[in-house]
């Protein structure tokens, strides 16, 4: 064989082997290379690189090594001797991501300045306008360790540039290197840097781009910070969406904080982070993340996700590092750096001053604030601890979850560390659910929590949605999204709970839930997946009725009922499924013709529906008389039936139904004295009986029942004294009792004094909550009016 033929043969054999599984290689090659062991060795050697080669050079070179594209020998804009406005160019100082930086001389003042051209970057046109806005603030930064910003202008060719104090000296890292600075010197230098940043923070300027290259040290050993405020100008003048800008602005992303990488708002805590990175490098001479590529997504992942190696550990790996230094870094300094560099802004040092102070304490041999962090810190614990926190705490949580999401996405985009990504994915999901079910439910009954709930639920939904993008075929996740939409809808505008009054928005949310639920139900034979659909139709009916779209509401209520029936038919012995049918049937009745609700005016339809409900409930009750839910709904259906009897002017029938209702409700109230719903049900039952008795003229018996009702309302208020609804209920109860005792209109018992007492009681309560709804104001006016009429006799 010629060498060329041999090479060809090697390639053929490798191909052929790769068409087979690895376990067949040996046998195949032994056969194919029977009389040529070197050939076999060559082929086997190449095949040995299969794993290693899998990701090798897969992406084009300009993607894996994009920095090489920047190293073009583009001619410089300005040459020594040329003039830019009144400045004579002396030399090129350097070339940065945005353009060149020149040393120039102010021809008039004879002072040296640095001129920074902004040749690249988006929104250059807006830069100057932005600069004019910030000029006063930036120009006012007057600190010995901050390089002055003299001004900004545009060249005759339209290139914006900044004029800055020229700082003679070396970049921080090389200065320390050249001067062989000791650890203590480095820390003292660093504290001066901190004082400059802290000064700027007091003047409301965040640097946003702190890195060793932006810090120079003069021959006198004074550090000077360059480019204060420039990063912000560059960011804000850009018209790109925030997130994209941030990474664009950061030419050396290793120093960017996690929140910056995520495109979130940057605060002084972001500078704390970047200073942490600067200190890290001062101590170790290395960057905190060992990046394997310059791909932005990988850098972002490292910053948002990976814990940096502790500085002392970096030094132990380096054979040249002095044991002495390593020892002095281990412990306090490790902890200080790690505290500054925590992923969560709110868990870092509260300020640069505090950061610097901790270093001073270390230098003075005092105990420091920073403690070793446990990276096992879980945000879910945070949720658990703060379950009841509303508002601010909730917002912090939202930020936290946002972070986890961002990182889990990054991880998944990179298709690396799949298991880890999935773990994070589950964390997010757990957290989103914790929002939805734990936090939301915990604050649900807090007065004024409606908008906080809305925010929680909305965010949780966003998180779940972001997860569904990659998990289209995960029914349980889809179910969570459906439930999230349902809750969003409820908070937006379901009249059955505290809501924001946005019924149109509520319907939209329900509609989205419905679309997903329909799909889910279509692809899966599992009947349980149809349950969410039934719940959605039920909620839609609530809201549509509220919006007076009664016919549609009836349709939706019926659709809901149909599904619940199907579900019950699958498992006829399932009490819960049967009970769901009963409740759904009851709701259909309400909406068809119950005068206490928005209804379609179909009273016979309502009656029919209620009869069916009662039959189901009675069957369930016969099967298991102890089921308290069944008893509760039996109490409710008899109340409904009583209402319908009243409507037909059948007062005897109404009384009988209300008494049956009380038979269910009163014992329940005795069994569950702490359940306000059950107690309220009992109070209403007595009230209704009282009404019916009064209608029949039995005023004494009516009075007895109304008194019982009032007693329960009073105990409910005692249990929850700030509850506005409980106060209102008690006041109404006083009014009703007073009407019966001796109101201005007959029939009554003529006990005017007692009547007045009760009206006054009502007025007293209502005045305390009079800033509430118009209904409360109406009731207050009614009680006052009746008092006036009685007094006027």
């Amino acid at each position: 064989m010629t060498p060329a033929e041999r090479a060809e043969r090697v390639a053929e054999l490798v191909d052929a082997a790769l068409e087979r599984g690895p376990h067949e290689w040996t046998a195949y090659l032994e056969e194919a290379c029977r009389d040529d062991p070197p050939l076999m060795a060559e082929v086997k050697s190449l095949l040995g690189y299969q794993d290693k080669a899998a990701h090798f050079i897969e992406a084009p070179a300009y993607q894996t090594n994009p920095e090489l594209l920047l190293l073009t020998d583009e001619p410089n804009e300005l040459r020594p001797g040329e003039f830019l406005r009144g400045y004579k160019i002396l030399s090129l100082l350097g070339e940065g991501g945005m353009g060149e930086v020149y040393l120039a001389e102010d021809a008039e003042l004879g002072r040296k300045v640095a001129i920074k051209l902004v040749k690249r970057g988006f929104g250059r046109e807006n830069l100057l306008r932005q600069f004019r806005q910030e000029e006063r603030i930036l120009g006012a930064l007057n600190h010995p360790n901050i390089a002055r910003l003299y001004g900004g202008a545009v060249s005759s060719e339209g290139t914006p540039y900044f004029l800055m104090e020229y700082v003679e000296g070396d970049p921080l890292a090389s200065y320390c290197e050249l001067h062989q600075s000791t650890l203590i010197e480095r820390l003292q230098l660093f504290r001066k840097i901190c004082s400059a940043v802290s000064y700027a923070h007091q003047h409301l300027v965040i640097h946003r781009d702190l890195k060793p290259g932006n810090i120079r040290v003069t021959p006198e050993g004074e550090p000077k910070l360059l480019d204060f405020g420039i990063a912000k100008l560059l960011d804000e003048s850009s018209e790109l969406p925030d997130q994209t800008v941030t990474l664009a602005g950061v030419m050396t992303p290793e120093y960017a904080s996690p929140e910056q990488v995520r495109g979130e708002r940057m605060t002084t805590a972001s500078d704390v982070y970047s200073l942490g990175v600067v200190l890290y490098q001062l101590l170790t001479g290395e960057k905190p993340y060992r990046l394997t590529s310059r791909r932005p997504d990988e850098i972002a992942r490292a910053i948002t996700e990976h814990a940096p190696v502790r500085p002392s550990a970096v030094l132990s790996e380096n054979p040249n590092s002095k044991v002495q230094i390593r020892k002095s870094i281990r412990g306090d300094l490790d902890n200080i750096v790690m505290l500054a560099m925590r992923k969560e802004p709110e868990r870092r040092y509260a300020s640069v001053a505090q950061f610097s102070e901790d270093i001073r304490r270390h230098l003075d041999g005092l105990p420091v604030i920073a403690r070793k962090d446990t990276w096992g810190y879980r945000s879910s614990k945070f949720v658990r601890r703060n379950r009841l926190a509303v508002g601010a705490a909730a917002l912090i949580l939202l930020t936290l979850v946002g972070g986890i999401i961002a990182t889990s996405r990054q991880a998944r985009i990179a298709r690396l560390e799949r298991a880890k990504a999935e773990r994070r994915f589950n964390d997010v999901r757990k957290l989103a659910n914790s929002y939805l079910f734990e936090l939301h439910d915990a604050i649900e009954n807090l007065p004024g929590s409606t908008s906080a709930r809305a925010l929680l639920v909305k965010r949780a939904l966003e998180y779940l949605q972001s997860l569904t993008v990659d998990m289209q075929d995960d029914p349980s996740l889809q179910r969570e999204v459906i439930m999230a939409y349902l809750k969003v809808g409820n908070v937006q505008g379901n009249p059955r709970n505290a809501n924001l009054g946005d019924s149109a928005g509520a319907l939209q949310s329900y509609e989205k839930a419905r679309a997903i639920a329909e799909n889910l139900a279509a692809v899966s034979a599992d009947p349980l997946l149809r349950r969410p659909l039934a719940l959605i139709y039920e909620k839609m009916a609530d809201v549509k009725a509220e919006r007076k779209q009664v016919d549609e509401a009836v349709q939706d209520a019926r659709k809901s009922l149909t599904i619940f029936r199907e579900l019950a038919a699958v498992n006829p012995t399932d009490t819960a499924a049967q009970l769901s049918v009963a409740i759904s049937q009851l709701k259909v009745g309400d909406i068809l013709g119950n005068p206490n609700f928005v209804n379609a005016g179909d009273q016979s339809g309502a009656m029919e529906s209620y009869q069916v409900t009662r039959a189901i409930l009675e069957n369930l009750h016969t099967a298991d008389a102890s089921n308290s839910r069944v008893r509760r709904f039996l109490g409710m259906i008899h109340e409904r039936l009583g209402t319908m009897s009243e409507l037909r002017n059948d007062s005897a029938g109404a009384l009988a139904e209300y008494q049956k209702s009380a038979e269910m409700r009163v014992p329940l109230a005795a069994e569950y004295p702490n359940d306000s719903t059950v107690l309220r049900d009992a109070a209403i039952a007595y009230e209704k009986i009282g009404n019916a008795l009064a209608g029949q003229g039995d005023l004494e018996a009516a009075l007895e029942n109304r008194s019982k009702s009032l007693a329960i309302f009073r105990s409910l208020l005692q249990a929850d004294p700030k509850n506005v609804e409980a106060q209102e209920s008690l006041a109404i109860s006083h009014i009703h009792l007073a009407d019966l005792l001796g109101g201005p209109e007959p029939p009554n018992l003529d006990r005017t004094a007692q009547a007045l007492e009760n009206y006054r009681e009502a007025v007293l309560i209502l005045e305390g909550i009079a800033s509430g709804t118009s209904a409360i104001q109406d009731e207050l006016a009614e009680a006052r009016g009746k008092i006036a009429r009685l007094a006027g006799r």
């Binding site: 060498p3 060329a4 090479a7 390639a11 490798v14 191909d15 190449l46 040995g48 690189y49 299969q50 290693k52 080669a53 050079i57 992406a59 084009p60 070179a61 300009y62 993607q63 894996t64 090594n65 994009p66 920095e67 090489l68 594209l69 190293l71 583009e74 001619p75 804009e77 300005l78 040329e82 830019l84 100082l93 350097g94 070339e95 940065g96 991501g97 945005m98 930086v101 988006f122 060249s155 970049p171 060793p212 290259g213 932006n214 360059l226 790109l240 994209t244 664009a248 030419m251 050396t252 992303p253 290793e254 960057k287 060992r290 990046l291 394997t292 310059r294 791909r295 932005p296 997504d297």
Partner: protein, 195 residues
């Protein structure tokens, strides 16, 4: 300040050259090279700016972009396009490897520190493919496997996909994929041995 005018390589010129080439005029490639080289360098700068700005790694091959910008697409046959892609990929290789070499030299000379008002470009030394070494390995590889090495050039440096490479090299896509698979093993071994 001097402006930075667009290279005056009108689409008509390039299209004309490609036509000549397709009819067998080999000299055409010599004329084409400097034009494409300039355009690619310009695109490279734009590409990097874009990449930094929106930080999505677009799969756009610079070579495609150059083609669309420089050539009157309707007037050129597939052979013309294949010629263009071939040349452009080779030039991309040259640009990137030259830059990598210059970058390494700068680092050795310690120039980087002086440059760093903005800390130069923050280039990390580890990790990303050492293009200079790869270029060397690819040259050795080409001695035994000329066509396979072209596949690498077109794919890794040019960013072309298998279909396009098949067109440029006049082989089947399957052959391209096999060549690529083999070349990766070979180069990976070569670089492991020297690195």
């Amino acid at each position: 300040m001097k402006g930075n005018p667009r290279p005056q390589s009108s689409a008509a010129d390039v299209t004309q050259i490609l036509k000549q080439w397709s009819t067998g005029d080999e000299k055409a490639s010599v004329e084409l090279m400097p034009l494409v080289y300039e355009e690619l360098r310009r695109l490279a700068r734009d590409y990097l700016r874009r990449e930094r700005a929106d930080h999505t790694l677009q799969p756009t091959a610079l070579v495609h972009e150059a083609y669309l910008r420089m050539v009157d697409v309707k007037a050129v046959t597939w052979q013309g396009r294949a010629h263009f892609y071939g040349i452009a990929a080779r030039l991309m290789r040259r640009i990137l490897v030259d830059h990598a070499r210059a970058h390494n030299a700068k680092k050795r000379g310690g120039l980087e520190q002086k440059l760093s008002l903005d800390e130069a470009h923050g280039i990390s030394s580890g990790g990303s493919t050492d293009l200079v070494a790869l270029d060397g390995a690819l040259q050795s590889f080409a001695k035994s496997y000329p066509r396979k090495s072209e596949v690498v050039e077109l794919k890794f440096f040019g960013g072309l996909d298998a279909t396009e490479i098949a067109e440029v090299l006049q082989v089947s896509q399957k052959t391209v994929l096999r060549d690529w698979r083999f070349a990766k093993l070979w180069l990976c071994r070569e670089l492991s041995a020297t690195g």
